[in-house]
Symmetry: C2
Subunit: 195 residues, 2 copies
């Protein structure tokens, strides 16, 4: 089954590598020192204090219903802006020091102007499903693509919950994103999760 | 089918990105200027001349029969040593400036001491098959793993030969490597290809 293979490869080839110590890497990320302005709060009395960075130390994996995954979350919502990467390297299958860094985005709530950070990505294997259907040579119909996406999400949840994968449990959140018809709930979901 | 999904995702998510301009990136790789000693030939008269770097400007994808893919080719053959990377970045599915660089190895023929360069990797999805079987929670038996590897190789050859994929044709070589029982033909294959 295409979806099952993609879910297992996403787990063994990526999530199982980066999730176990993600929380520690978020804590020791050097961005916080270089950008104190991002964490400065001004009190009622005009006093400035530096607060804890408001970041959910987990990987938020967004699975869009259309399977269409733009290059950047800013293409989905201009309130979500890329600010940096949490670094991670590992040599794997002959690729020396392969880069597995995660992208960090700054999310601004347009109503309150409050700022949050989130480690975001679309589920890249879902983009493969989209391209398999669009490219028209893989023989994947639109109905099959939708079915495979649902199977992928179910399988991935199962894998991340498995007792053998304790080191990954609770380190990632799979967010199903209803982007058809186009609706702007994306940033609200992320903001809700980050608070 | 697991193997088909892995082959299509390997194509759309990696090969289709890096193969089209690989030859140009190999030519303009800055390693050649920084390491002239690697291309210096000493003539009969003791005269030194700088020659063209002996590199096959193609991606050599090694598919081991056991599906076991070590982290580095040096683990397979000490005559194959990592010397650098051909850089390539692309933003994809929310991952900004994702690194898709290729590892370059220096291959020394132990008999003639001649040196060649090769862009090598194990077929990463094959490692996923290995881990799916080893991990024992994916439900992939050894027989199924072997069958899936063969299907993956066949599908990949087909995809790379497809008339719609002209931009990738001839840019990669799939090398089936009989590593069971363990035999040392690996480096000879690479040397033979590189000459
Ligand atoms: N040799 C090699 N070098 C690369 O840079 C690379 N990038 C991808 N691939 C292989 O191509 C195919 C498609 O990749 P995709 O990104 O859709 O899925 C990837 C992706 O969803 C996730 N993943 C892997 N590396 C990263 C990464 N650096 N950032 C984000 N996600 C990643 O985990 C899946 C499986 O990865 P691999 O098991 O390494 O093999 C992949 C896969 O077979 C690569 N292969």
């Amino acid at each position: 089954n295409v979806a099952h293979g993609l879910a297992w490869s996403y787990f063994y080839g990526f999530l199982n590598l980066i999730l176990p110590k993600l929380g520690e890497r978020v804590k020791s990320w050097d961005y916080w020192e270089k950008h104190p302005e991002d964490r400065t709060q001004t009190g009622e009395d005009g006093q400035k204090t530096i607060c804890q960075p408001r970041i959910l130390p987990k990987l938020i994996i967004v699975s869009p219903q259309s399977c269409h995954c733009p290059d950047s979350f800013t293409d989905v919502d201009e309130n979500i802006v890329h600010v940096g990467h949490i670094p991670f390297k590992a040599s794997r299958a002959g690729n020396i020091d392969r880069d597995y860094k995660n992208s960090v985005y700054k999310v601004t709530d347009p109503k309150t102007l409050e700022v949050y950070y989130a480690i975001l990505e679309f589920a890249t294997p879902i983009l493969s499903l989209y391209e398999m259907e669009q490219g028209a040579i893989a023989g994947l119909s639109t109905t099959q693509k939708d079915a495979q996406r649902t199977m992928f999400e179910t399988k991935l949840e199962e894998i991340l919950e498995h007792p053998n994968n304790r080191q990954c449990r609770g380190q990632a959140i799979l967010l199903s994103y209803r982007d058809k018809p186009s609706d702007d709930t994306g940033h609200e979901e992320v903001t809700r999760l980050s608070t």
